[in-house]
């Protein structure tokens, strides 16, 4: 019988520094693995512990995987400080449902990311690029603290060049090196701005990932400008351990984020207590 607690090996092939606090790890997997965009992995730093991360690479890749990680606490600090190319990490998963991509066919997709929250969305963006003929339009709205804090900077040009893609960036406060929009990511969701980029609110879905406070204000802004709760998908944050609905800590109302999420339709969760922390 397979041991669901056993972490399989992923050898670090490459480490890329995205920002001073965020690094992308490219892992070579010892066991082929396919996932749906939005599904997450439990990543083990050997002897230190596990934490959940959503791959940032394309779901089409089965032998290698990229995971983009921000340094915040115990596990991620050891990871950033001590893990080098050639070391191995542990992987369990994939877990969770992933984005309902089938629903997105024929629709416009508004992708709203903040900080390291662009990592999971990047894998969704690649998945959508693969089916771009069936998607009407993709609007990417991304906010970071400063230009130095933007993830995946060197890919923006490629994304923008694609047809049916509109990329919109903002940083929190003005910065000598920045000529674009300044303000929290919600400023890209103001009515006027959405009108300018031409989104058809009625015929769209929104997908958002970022820190808890950001998700909260993004949701309220979206509702204010006319999106329905049914159109909004949020990558919710909860502490996790098992990844498969047993340890019972990752819940919103009756849902387990590790099984029923982590991306939840706002309509399904909005009436339960403590949706946002």
């Amino acid at each position: 019988m397979e041991n669901i607690y056993y972490p399989h090996k992923g050898v670090v092939k490459e480490i890329k520094e995205e920002t001073p606090k965020i690094k992308t790890y490219r892992l070579k997997l010892d066991k082929k693995l396919s996932f749906r965009a939005g599904q997450f992995m439990q990543l083990t730093v050997p002897g230190v512990g596990e934490a959940p991360f959503t791959p940032s690479s394309s779901p089409g890749e089965v032998e290698e995987m990229e995971i983009t990680i921000m340094r915040t606490g115990r596990v991620t600090s050891v990871l950033h400080k001590e893990v080098k190319v050639g070391d191995f990490l542990g992987l369990r998963g994939p877990f969770g449902k992933g984005y309902p991509i089938e629903k997105f066919i024929g629709k416009e997709i508004l992708i709203v990311g903040g900080g390291v929250g662009l990592a999971p969305l990047r894998s969704l963006i690649y998945a959508l690029f693969d089916r771009i003929e069936e998607i009407k339009q993709i609007y990417i709205c991304y906010g970071a603290k400063s230009p130095e804090d933007q993830c995946f900077k060197d890919e923006y040009k490629d994304w923008e060049r694609k047809k049916k893609v509109s990329l919109n960036l903002t940083i929190d406060e003005s910065h000598p090196k920045w000529k674009g929009t300044v303000g929290l990511v919600t400023c890209l969701l103001e009515k006027d701005y959405l009108k300018k980029i031409g989104i058809d609110i009625k015929n769209s879905y929104v997908v958002s990932c970022g820190p808890d406070v950001m998700l909260k204000f993004v949701t309220f802004k979206l509702l204010e400008v006319g999106f329905k709760p049914e159109q909004i998908y949020l990558s919710m944050n909860r502490r996790m351990s098992c990844g498969f609905g047993k340890c019972a800590r990752c819940n919103i109302g009756p849902y387990y984020l590790c099984k029923d999420g982590p991306d939840m339709c706002y309509a399904d969760i909005k009436d339960y207590p403590n949706v946002f922390c």
């Binding site: 019988m1 397979e2 041991n3 669901i4 607690y5 056993y6 972490p7 090996k9 083990t44 050997p46 002897g47 230190v48 512990g49 596990e50 915040t72 606490g73 991620t76 191995f88 542990g90 808890d212 944050n237 909860r238 502490r239 351990s241 098992c242 498969f244 609905g245 047993k246 340890c247 019972a248 800590r249 990752c250 819940n251 919103i252 109302g253 009756p254 207590p273 403590n274 922390c277």
Partner: protein, 354 residues
């Protein structure tokens, strides 16, 4: 099928059980000290000197959950091929004398660890399948017992290999499975007659009546459990008793159905060898849901307190169609804050009405 065992033959019965594997029994002992005597009931392995063994009338202080979910055990060593697949069969363990509530608890936890075919817990499965369950009727109830208000009976109705009912002159054995049948065949016992069955039913009625009497005032709160579960969690009124909670986690530790755990990793003794353990956790601990940066969806003390109720009577119920509580009352006996779950529900019911 029901058969009769002479009371003095309980030793033979245990001898047969010992042939199947290790035997762990509900055990009662009078403990004398200069402050007087006290009856203690606990779980103990039977190896020899069981000639004066008898089955206690009520449940033990300890629960039996460690037989399927030990408090701390190793679930992996990595990287090591040996741990990728876990063997199927474990050695048999016999649980003797367990009561209906503890029997029910296994069937509740099974839902979590066995039902999801994609993620069957191999350690749980192995331990669970190795159990031989010899249950027994309650001959009395404790003040904290409230199985009846949750719709359960103080005697096992299904899910046992053999159930034992103590009658005046015999032990009546109800056979519930193939393995139970095999065990009883070893003893060549006589069929029970109408008289003994009548005596059993009479005994059962008595204990049930007593339970109903002692829990009468609470039954209305449990009658509305579903609607309380749906509504009360949104409001803070009615939960005042929770302010006595000191977040010690005793309630979840002694609960036979609380299964929440966490995984933690350690370096092994050898180079390039790491170990992963599963340990009991508790939703009553602050760290249970705490995320990076100190964010916590159950930050307030009362939200944390409520979660235990919410999980048992709402979330679990929604997922599996049963409540996650047997009514054994252990959490009541062991709460440092002196909190009685039954009174909490009465309060919550009032909160909903308010």
């Amino acid at each position: 099928m029901e058969v009769l065992l002479d009371k003095n033959r309980i030793k033979n019965f245990i001898e047969v059980l010992l042939g199947y594997g290790r035997v762990f029994a509900s055990w009662e002992k009078e403990i004398f000290s200069n402050r007087g005597s006290k009856t203690r009931r606990f779980v103990r392995e039977i190896k020899d000197n069981f000639s004066d063994y008898y089955i206690p009338k009520v449940r033990t202080f300890d629960n039996f959950k460690s037989f399927v979910l030990p408090g701390r055990f190793k679930v992996a060593e990595y990287p090591s091929e040996k741990w990728i697949d876990i063997g199927e069969k474990g050695e048999k363990e016999v649980l003797l004398g367990i009561k209906a509530c503890d029997l029910n608890s296994f069937y509740m936890i099974d839902k979590v660890f066995l039902e999801d075919s994609l993620f069957v817990d191999p350690f749980y499965k192995k331990r669970r399948e190795s159990l031989i369950l010899i249950s027994s009727d309650c001959g009395d109830s404790l003040d904290s017992c409230f199985c009846n208000v949750l719709g359960f009976s103080p005697y096992p109705e299904k899910g046992f290999d053999i159930n034992i009912v103590e009658l005046k002159e015999f032990y009546l054995l109800e056979i519930g499975s193939k393995i139970g049948e095999e065990i009883s065949k070893n003893l060549s016992l006589n069929q029970a007659g109408k008289k003994e069955l009548r005596e059993r039913d009479e005994k059962r009625r008595k204990v049930k009546d007593k339970l109903e009497k002692q829990n009468r005032e609470f039954s209305k709160a449990f009658f509305y459990l579903e609607s309380i579960a749906e509504q009360a969690f949104d409001s803070d009124s009615g939960w005042e008793l929770g302010s006595a909670c000191v977040s010690c986690g005793a309630c979840t530790n002694v609960c036979p159905v609380c299964y929440c755990f966490t995984l933690f990793d350690r370096k092994g003794e050898k180079e390039n060898n790491y170990k992963r353990f599963m340990v009991w956790d508790s939703c009553q601990f602050k760290g249970f849901s705490q995320m990076a940066g100190g964010l916590n969806p159950r930050f307030s003390h009362i939200d944390q307190f409520k979660n235990r109720y919410y999980h048992k009577f709402f979330r679990f119920y929604k997922k599996f169609g049963v409540y996650k509580c047997t009514g054994c009352g252990r959490c009541i006996d062991n709460c440092l804050g002196g909190i009685d779950m039954r009174e909490v529900f009465l309060g919550a019911l009032e909160g909903v009405k308010r």
